[in-house]
Symmetry: C2
Subunit: 205 residues, 2 copies
DNA sequence: CAGAAAAGTTGACATAGTGTCAATATTTAG
DNA sequence: CTAAATATTGACACTATGTCAACTTTTCTG
C-alpha cells in the first residue's frame, strides 16, 4: 500500500529542492536545445548541481523529460474524457468536430514541449511508452464513443470500434505533429473540418 | 548536365567494390542490430575495410541507411503510381481497397528494413527527409485521385483533396508502423477493410 | 618501364557525451 | 558532541563519432 507522506524532514526537503531545480533547468534546456542536443552537463550547470546529482534523482535524460510531460498529458486526457452521449446524428457530428478541434488546438498551445517530446519518441524507449499510454487511452475512449453511436442506431455497424478509433487517432496524431513542427499549410479549422467530415460522412457519401 | 559514365578504370572499380561491400555489411548489421545499436565499427569489420573508409564513401550511418532505402522506396512508389480512373463509385471503392491492402502488405514484406528505417526517422534528419519524400509523393498522388473522383461526380466536393489525402496517408502510415513492429492485433485484411470503409463511406452513412 | 601523380585506404587521435562510484558534505538522532 | 544516515559531487572508465596525415595501389607519361 503506497502512501504519500508529507515530509518535514530537512534532508528530504533539500533533496526535493534539488529535484525541482533539475526539472526547472531541464525544461528550459529542452525548450532551447531540443531533446537530442540537450545534454546532462547543460542541465546540471543551469541547475547549479553536480553532474552525478542528476543521476541520483533521475535515471537519465528520458526520465527527466517524461516527468515534464505529465502536465501536457493531463491536458490531453481532459480532451479524451469529454462526455459523449449524442441523441442525434447531427449532435454526434458536432461533438466530433469539437473534439477534433480541441485536439488540434492543443498542438498549437503546447507546441514547445510537444516538439521536444516528438523528438524524444524516436530516440527513447520510455518516451515511446509514455506516448503509447496517451494514445491507448485516447483510442479506448473513442472506441467507447463509437460503440455508443452504434448501439443507439446513429452509426453504421459492421466495423470494429477499436479499429475505427485507431485510424481516427492516427490521422489526428500525425496532423498534431505537423502542427507542432509548424509544417502545416492549411488553417487549423480547415484541417479539423476535413478530418471530422471524412470520419463522419466519408468521401463518397 | 549529369551523366552516368561506365567506368572501366581499375581504381574506380576497386572503389565501387568497397562501396558495395560496405552497403552489404551495413544491411546485415542494421537488420541484426537495428539503427541505434549498429555501429560503424561493426559495419567496417564485417565489410573487411578500415574505419576511415566508411567515411570516404558515406557521410555517416544515416547516409548508409538512406542508400539502402532506395529499394524499399521503389516498391512504395509502384503502389502510389497505380492507375486510378474508376467509372463508377463501386469501382472507385474497389480500387481504394486494393491500394490500401497493397500498402499494408508492403509493411509485412519489407518489415525488417522498415523497422530500421522507422527507428532512424526519429534520430536522423536525413532519414526524416527521405521519408518525407515518400510521403509527399504518395499524398500528391492520392490527392490527384480524389480530384479525379470529384471531377467525375463520384465523390463529394467541398473538401480539399490535399487535406483528405493527407489524413488518408497518415492513418495508413501509422498502421504501417504498427504492422512493422508486429504490434497490430487485428488481421491485416480487417484493418484494410475498416480503413477503406471509413474513407469511402464514413462512419455515419 | 621507371617513377611521379592521382586516387583510394587506413587506423590513431581528438572530441563529446554517458553513467558509475568512492569520497565528501550535510543533516538528524542519540 | 559524535555517529549514523542521507544527499551531493566530480573524476573516471567507457563507447562512439568523425578527421586526417601517412600509406598503398593504380594510372599516366617521357
Amino acid at each position: 500500500m503506497e502512501e504519500t507522506k508529507i515530509v518535514t524532514d530537512g534532508r528530504h526537503l533539500r533533496s526535493l529542492q534539488t529535484r525541482l531545480k533539475l526539472l526547472e533547468a531541464a525544461k528550459e534546456v529542452f525548450r532551447e536545445e531540443g531533446f537530442h542536443k540537450a545534454t546532462i552537463s547543460q542541465i546540471i550547470k543551469r541547475a547549479k548541481t553536480g553532474y552525478g546529482t542528476a543521476y541520483v534523482h533521475f535515471t537519465g535524460k528520458d526520465d527527466l523529460l517524461i516527468v515534464l510531460m505529465e502536465d501536457v498529458m493531463t491536458a490531453f486526457y481532459s480532451i479524451a474524457e469529454q462526455p459523449f452521449t449524442p441523441a442525434s446524428r447531427a449532435e454526434a457530428e458536432q461533438l466530433i468536430l469539437q473534439q477534433t478541434t480541441a485536439f488540434l488546438r492543443m498542438a498549437e498551445s503546447e507546441r514547445k514541449m510537444l516538439r521536444v517530446f516528438g523528438e524524444a519518441i524516436g530516440v527513447s524507449v520510455s518516451a515511446q511508452q509514455k506516448w503509447a499510454e496517451i494514445r491507448e487511452r485516447f483510442i479506448n475512449r473513442i472506441a467507447q464513443d463509437i460503440a455508443y453511436s452504434q448501439q443507439h442506431g446513429l452509426a453504421r455497424t459492421g466495423l470494429m470500434p477499436e479499429l475505427v478509433a485507431r485510424g481516427w487517432f492516427y490521422s489526428h496524431e500525425m496532423y498534431l505533429w505537423e502542427i507542432v513542427r509548424s509544417d502545416h499549410q492549411a488553417p487549423l479549422d480547415e484541417i479539423a473540418k476535413t478530418l471530422a467530415a471524412i470520419y463522419t460522412g466519408g468521401l463518397y457519401s
